[in-house]
Amino acid sequence: MQFSLSRPGVRSFKPVVFMLCLFPFGLLMADAFSNQLGANPTKVIVRTLGDWAIYLLLIGLAISPARKLLGKPWPIRYRRMIGLFAFFYVCMHFLAYIWFDQYFDISEITKDIVKRPFITIGFVNFLMLLALAATSNKRMIKRLKKNWLRLHKLVYPVSMLALLHFFMMIKADYFRPTVLLIVLSLLLGYRLIVAFRPGSKRPSSQARKLLAHRWKPARYGGLGNTD
């Protein structure tokens, strides 16, 4: 069965989520073009875009636990959009670095990617997210079948490396990446607990039902394995 926006009784907030995801970018643009980013606007632009890429990755990772904890399938409808927005912010982050920070100096950029581990990690992460974004449509889900799920498990190393990338550029104050690391640990830890304690008490009967027989993602937005 195909999920559609007009299905009776199901209200989609996709346009709202879309606008919410775009809002930080719009705000940043507005601030940049009205000279509100302080003495070093390039740095603020690159950092803010990187920050939001990580926030959206974490929000994307919260979808599946939220679905289980709420016992409701609806959060899954927004996961692809959130994931794609994370990729969008990564692209803008990378573009801002290439354009405003390095001014298209290809030799400097190459040197950075090869020589500086935190930039190497950032670049590798960009490539992995590119693979995920490129295979996020329904056609690719169908074509890749089981491999799609396998491929999209890359989001776990991607989010861990994204935080490592953040940690590695810090000079002395690790407070902010530490907070994000705690959030990521909770999100991944939840999955580990679910995976290794299948008989443990679940938050709700509906979540238990969802886990018991394999969840059919096509009903809720075409994400996940379809066999």
């Binding site: 940049a32 073009f33 009205s34 000279n35 980013l37 302080g38 003495a39 070093n40 606007p41 390039t42 740095k43 632009i45 405003f100 920070d101 001014y103 400097e108 040197k111 950075d112 020589k115 500086r116 935190f118 590695m168 550029m169 000079k171 002395a172 104050d173 407070f175």
Partner: protein, 325 residues
């Protein structure tokens, strides 16, 4: 302290003339209002409407000697130089010092002088300043994070001050220490760095005529966030060497520990001379971003010894600068 910019009338600006802080603020204000596409050709005329009132009339150092140092260099705006600071004693965000440094009490202030010198003891800052020959020098300031600014510093020669303490022959180095008082410096409540902040110079570096003790900027008393009431300015070194809010000066025979060097010796050396050929492990030092530059403006090349090579290269003639970075 706030800077009030008033427009009192037009005046012609020659390219050779040093643009005042008010002109700069005015220029940026204009660019803000007129949107993005203001070309360089226009920029000269933009400086016309704004004029210095506070900058000329409200100076805190009457009769200040303007020196030839950096004369004619394009200045960073006062606003940028006082709102984008690394001063972890008040927080690690660039805006934190401007936000939180009001808790610092720079008056009264005393400086302890100790170690290998004849005239050690505790000095009131006022007494030190009374003996000093106050002057203004425009220096380029290059942070190790690859941003830079050009600021008119008010102060006096470091070497002249140090000589008055009569260092002995054993004084091979001089070490400085920042105030440690978490009540005045709330950032010190978290152990981000090994407080108090310390840094030092070799005695010949400290005696170099370019080495400077600053007590003001742009003709004003030093704002707290910039290191009130007294800080070091060694223009050929990275910004972190220029220790702020100094309470202690120690002459020593051995190379003193310095905060960043202790924290990450592979990233921050004791010398920390600006050197575009020796990269920081995590970023290139070949170029820098000028504070106040718009995001679409490219970086500018970093100069050897921050542009002071002619004066200071001799201090390091027999040293491998990639090893002693």
């Amino acid at each position: 302290m706030s800077i009030i910019i008033k427009s009192v009338g037009p005046r012609d600006i020659k390219p050779s003339e040093i643009t005042t802080e008010a002109d700069y603020s005015g220029r940026r204000e204009f660019i803000k209002k007129s949107g993005l596409l203001v070309g360089g050709a226009l920029a000269g005329s933009l400086a016309v409407p704004a004029q210095a009132s506070s900058a000329e009339g409200g100076k805190d150092f009457p009769g200040l000697i303007k020196t030839e140092y950096g004369k004619g260099r394009e200045l960073t705006s006062y606003e940028d130089a006082t709102s984008y600071n690394n001063f972890y004693e008040f927080g690690t965000d660039k805006e934190d010092p401007a936000r939180y440094a009001s808790s610092l009490k720079p008056k009264p202030w005393s400086v302890v002088v100790e170690g290998e010198a004849n005239k050690t003891g505790t000095y009131n800052l006022e007494d030190i300043l009374q003996k000093a020959q106050m002057e203004e020098r425009i220096y380029h300031f290059r942070c190790v994070e690859a941003w830079s600014m050009t600021v008119p510093w008010v102060g006096f020669s470091l070497g002249e001050m140090l000589k008055r303490f009569e260092p002995t022959a054993k004084a091979k180095f001089v070490e400085f220490e920042t105030l440690y008082d978490p009540d005045q410096m709330p950032g010190q409540k978290r152990k981000i760095l090994d407080w108090p902040y310390r840094d030092g110079l070799r005695i010949d570096e400290a005696m170099h005529p370019l080495a400077f003790m600053a007590t003001g900027i742009y003709g004003h008393t030093m704002p707290n966030q910039n290191g009130a009431p007294i800080r070091l300015i060694v223009p050929w070194k990275y910004g972190f060497k220029n220790i702020k809010s100094i309470v202690k000066i120690r002459f020593s025979e051995k190379m003193p520990p310095s905060t960043w060097n202790t924290l990450a010796p592979n990233e921050y050396g004791f010398y920390a001379n600006v050197n575009p050929q020796v990269d920081h492990p995590r970023w290139s030092q070949a170029s820098e971003r000028k504070l106040g530059a718009n995001f679409w403006e490219p970086r500018v090349k970093t100069e050897m010894f921050n542009g002071y090579a002619d004066q200071v290269a001799g201090l390091y003639s027999d040293m491998d600068l990639s090893r002693y970075f």
